[in-house]
Symmetry: C2
Subunit: 576 residues, 2 copies
Amino acid sequence: MDKILRVNTRTNDIRSEACSTEALRLGGRSLIAHLAIKEIEPNCDPLGRKNKFVLVAGLLGDTNVTTAGRYSVGGKSPLTGGVKEASVGGSAGRQMARLGFRAVVLEDVPDNLQTNILVVSKEKAEIITAPECKNLAVRASLHLLRDQFGEDAGLICVGPAGEMMMAGAGVATTDKTGVQIRFAGRGGMGAVMGSKGIKAIVFDGSGVFSEEAYDRKALKAANKELVKILMDDPKTENRHNFGTPAVLAVCNALGILPTRNFSGGQFEQVDAISGETIAELINKRGGEGRKGQPCIKGCVIQCSNVFPNPEGKATVASLQYENIALLGSNCGISDIDAIAELNNLCNEVGLDAIETGAAIGVAMEAGVIPFGDSEGAKDLIFQVWHGTPLGRIIGNGVVITGKVLGVRRIPAIKGQAIPAYDPRSLKGIGVTYVTSPMGADHTAGNALELASIMNPRGTEGQVEASRRLQLRATILDSLGVCLFIRPAFVEKPDLIAELLNARYGWNLSFEDVQKMGADCLENEQKFNTLAGIDIDHCDVPEFTRYEPLPPHDTVFDISKAEMKRIWSIKPIKGQF
Amino acid sequence: MDKILRVNTRTNDIRSEACSTEALRLGGRSLIAHLAIKEIEPNCDPLGRKNKFVLVAGLLGDTNVTTAGRYSVGGKSPLTGGVKEASVGGSAGRQMARLGFRAVVLEDVPDNLQTNILVVSKEKAEIITAPECKNLAVRASLHLLRDQFGEDAGLICVGPAGEMMMAGAGVATTDKTGVQIRFAGRGGMGAVMGSKGIKAIVFDGSGVFSEEAYDRKALKAANKELVKILMDDPKTENRHNFGTPAVLAVCNALGILPTRNFSGGQFEQVDAISGETIAELINKRGGEGRKGQPCIKGCVIQCSNVFPNPEGKATVASLQYENIALLGSNCGISDIDAIAELNNLCNEVGLDAIETGAAIGVAMEAGVIPFGDSEGAKDLIFQVWHGTPLGRIIGNGVVITGKVLGVRRIPAIKGQAIPAYDPRSLKGIGVTYVTSPMGADHTAGNALELASIMNPRGTEGQVEASRRLQLRATILDSLGVCLFIRPAFVEKPDLIAELLNARYGWNLSFEDVQKMGADCLENEQKFNTLAGIDIDHCDVPEFTRYEPLPPHDTVFDISKAEMKRIWSIKPIKGQF
C-alpha cells in the first residue's frame, strides 16, 4: 500500500508512482486533504480538467481490523465548491489496498464523455471502453462487472446520474455478496467520477497476497481488544438488531426528524417508518429479508439489512436512517415500502438519497407534487434517470432545485443538503454543518450521541462538542474504519496508535494521531478558504434562524462569531 | 433629491428619511455601493430577507444635462453573489429625482409572494395590491400602469421572470412615449425586486417642480459645451443612424462576436444581422419602424430604434447589439426578424436578453434544440414565461443552465453570462470581466473602444486599460449619464466637475471625481471580498484558457497574478 496509481483520463496514460514519505503517513480523508491542497486548484471547475477524482484506502485498509477496509473518495465537490471526502464500506477498498495502492487519482477529463472502465489487477492497470454500460443502472452495472471480473473483484461505479454529471450523484460500490449497494454518497463525487468518463473501477486482487503487518501479533491483539470493548457496548447489539433506523424514533423524540421540507421536527406517522417497524417487517416477511448484515468483511457490528417487499423479495439493501428520513418524513411519505423503493431507485440511478430526498422535499414545497405523493416522487427519480429537465433539476441537488423552482426555504449548508438532523434542535450538529470543511454532512461530527448528556437545544458547549466530534470523525475516516467503532476509542484512545504502530512499525502516541486529524482539518480549511467557502461565507439557511421548528419552537441561535471560535479550541489531551 | 424612501415589504411600513451627508455626495452606482456595504449582509441570501433592492437616481438625475436621468438598480446579485448595479434610461429616474428621492430601498420580503405596486407621488408613498398584474407581461403591465397613472408617470416593473424570482430577470422601464422597453438587465436584479413582492414602482411627479440647480447658468453652459463636443464627434452621428448594432460588424471583424455558444468569433451570416441591414430594413419597411430615437428626454445622441416586422409593425424597441449577438449569432440564428421576436419575448417575460441568449446557446450545445432553431428558441422563452421546468432552468441564467444540462463550456464569469465580446480576442474586456465587481458586464469597462489604438489580442497594457475603463464606467454610472457621452469627458475631464459643481454648489476637481469612482470600486470590492467572490475566486471560464477561438485562434492568456495587479494601479491624473 505504498503506491499511487495516476490515470490521465484525457490521454488514457496510466502510471504507478511511489507514495511520498508524507503520503505514507496518511490515508483516507487525511490523504485526500493532502493531495487536494497539493494538486487541485481550489478555484477550478469541479467538473473540468483541473479537478481530480481521488480514491484512497484507509490507513488500516489492508488489515483485518474490524470494519477496516472502508475507502474514501474525494476531490473538489460540485456541490460545496470545497474539498470533499465521502467514505464507504464494501469490498473494493481492501482490494485496492492489497494491490498495493494507497490511492488512485483520476486526472483531466476527456473532451467528449466516455463510458470507460479502469481495471486494476496484479499484472496491470488499463482502461477499457464499455459502451454497453452507458447509462446502465447501478445494480445492472455491478452485476455485469461481477460476471466479467469475478465475484472477488472489488467494484466501484457511477450510475446514470454520475454519467450525466449531476451534482447529486454518488459513487456506488458493493460487498462481496453483491447484495449490499453502498454509496460514498455526499458531495456529488459521482459527478466528478462521471466527468472523467470512468463508469467503473475494478480492483481484481486475485493472486495477490496480503501485505504483512509490521507486528502481526500486536495488531491481532489490538483488534481483539477493540472487538471486546465493542461487543461489551450495548449500542453494538442495538445496531446489529435494528441498524441505523433505530435512530429514527430517537430523532423524532428529540424533534429533529426532517419533516415536510424541514418545516417540522416530528412526523405524526413516525411509527410506520421506525427501526422497530422495519425489524418487525423483516422478521415477518422473511424471504430475502435480512437483519444484522455486514457491509464489509470482518465487521462485528453488522448493522446492515436487506429490506424485503411484502412478497419477501429484496427491495433495497441497506435501508438506512438518513434515507428514510429524507425520502420519508421529509417528503411527508409514511409508506415504508414506498420509501424503500425510492431508496432503491436512488441507488439504481446513482444518486445520493439524502441530497435527492431533500431536493424532492423542496420540489414538493414548490408544488411540483404534493407532500406525501410517493408515486410522484418515484416519477421524479425516473425523470432523473431519463435526464428530463425536471429530472436534471432534482438530480443536481437541493440548492439547484430550490433556486430553479423559486423556493426560498432551501435546507442546505455550503451547497449541500442538510441530512437527517435538523440543526435547530440539535445545535451541535449545526455547528458542524457550518464549520466543517465538509458542509452539511452527518458523518463529519454528529452531535446526536451527546444528546443524552448535554442539552441539544442549548447553545452552551456546542462549539466545543463539535470540535471534538469533528476531530474524531476525521481520524476514523483516515483509518478507514466505521464511525460505529468509536466507543472503543473513546474508552481507550491509545488503541488507535497501537493499531497503527502494529501495522506500520511506527511509534505514534495518541497525541500524534490527534495531530494527524487536526492537520487534515487544517488542510481542508486551507483549501476551502482558497476556494472562497470558509466559515466567513456560509451559515445555516436563513429560515432556520427565524422560523421556529416545532415541537420545541427552536431556531438556530449560535452566532457566527461563536462558531468561528472553533478552530482555536485545542483538542483535549488523551480524549477521543 | 435629498431623501431616501424606505419600504419594508414585509410590514408595508414606508418611511422617508433624509440622506446622510455622505449619501448626498453620491448617486447611482456609487450610492448603491455605499448602501450595500453599510446595510446589506454580504453573505445573505440574495432572495431572502436581508438583501435590499436599491433604486438610485444619478447625481445629475434631476437636471437637463444630456442623457442624464438614467437610474441604477442594485443590491446583492442572485447571479454573481456580489454587489450589483445595473443602469437604465427611460423616464422613471428623473421622476424619482424630481420627487426628491435620491434612492428608494425595498427591504425584507413578504412571507408569501405578493403582486404589489409601490406608488410614489408628491402627496404620499403607498403600496397597493395589484392581483390583476400577476404574471402579466411587461408591455401589458406598463400599459396598464400608464392607463392608471397617466402618461407622465415614471414606471418600473418586473415581468413574470422576476415574479418567479428567476436569476436571469431584469428590471424593465419605459420612456415617455411608452414605446421603448428598456432594461436594467444584468445581475438578476429583477429577481430581487420580485422577491420583495413588488411588481411595479410608479413615480407620479405631477405637480412637482424641478429642483433648482445651485448655479443654473453654469449648468446650462457646461451642458452646452458637453453637447457641442458630442455633436462634433463622428461617433455620435454613427450612433444616431445605426445605434449599437453598428458595432456588430466591427466585432465580427475583430473575431469577438459570440457564435454558437462561444465556439467561434465570427458568424458567417453576419451581413444578415448587421447594423447596416437593420437600418436598411427600418428604412425600407417604414410603418412603425424608427431610427434615431431617444430613450431618455434630452438625449442628443438618440441611438435607439424601433424595429418593425415586414408589415411595418413594431417588433421590438430598441434592438441592440448585445441582444442581437447573444440571441442571434451565439445561437446560430441569422434571421433578424426572428432575433427581434426573441428579444421582444425576453422583454415581455422580463428577462435579461444577454443572460437568456447565453443560456439558450448552452441549451443548444446540450442538444435541447439545435443551433439555428429560432422557433425552438422562442419556445424556450415561452417556457420561461409558463414556468415549466426547462423554462425555469433557462430563466435562471447560463450557469444554472449549464450545470443542470451537464454542459462544461459555460460562458460566464462570476456567475454571469459573458456579453457580446469574447475575451479571447479582446483581452482588455476579459480583464474587466474578471476584476470588475460587476463580473462579466460589458458596461463595466469595455475595451472595444481601444481596439483601434492597441492590439486587442495582445496581453500588453490590457490591465492598465481595464483599470482606466472601469473607473470611467463607475463615474458615468454614478452621474446617471449614458456611457456614450464619454468622448466629451475624455476631451475635457473637468467638465464632470463643472457639471456637479453647478448642480450642487460644490467645489470639486476632476481628481475628486476620480476619487469618488475609486471609492465606489473599493466599496464594491470590499463587499465582494466579504461575500467570497473577489478575484481570488474567479477567472475566465476554463475553456477560454485552452480552447482557441477562431478565426485568430486565441486563448485568454493574461494570468491571474497579472490581473490582480489592477487595483494597485493609480488613476492617471487628469485622464478620464
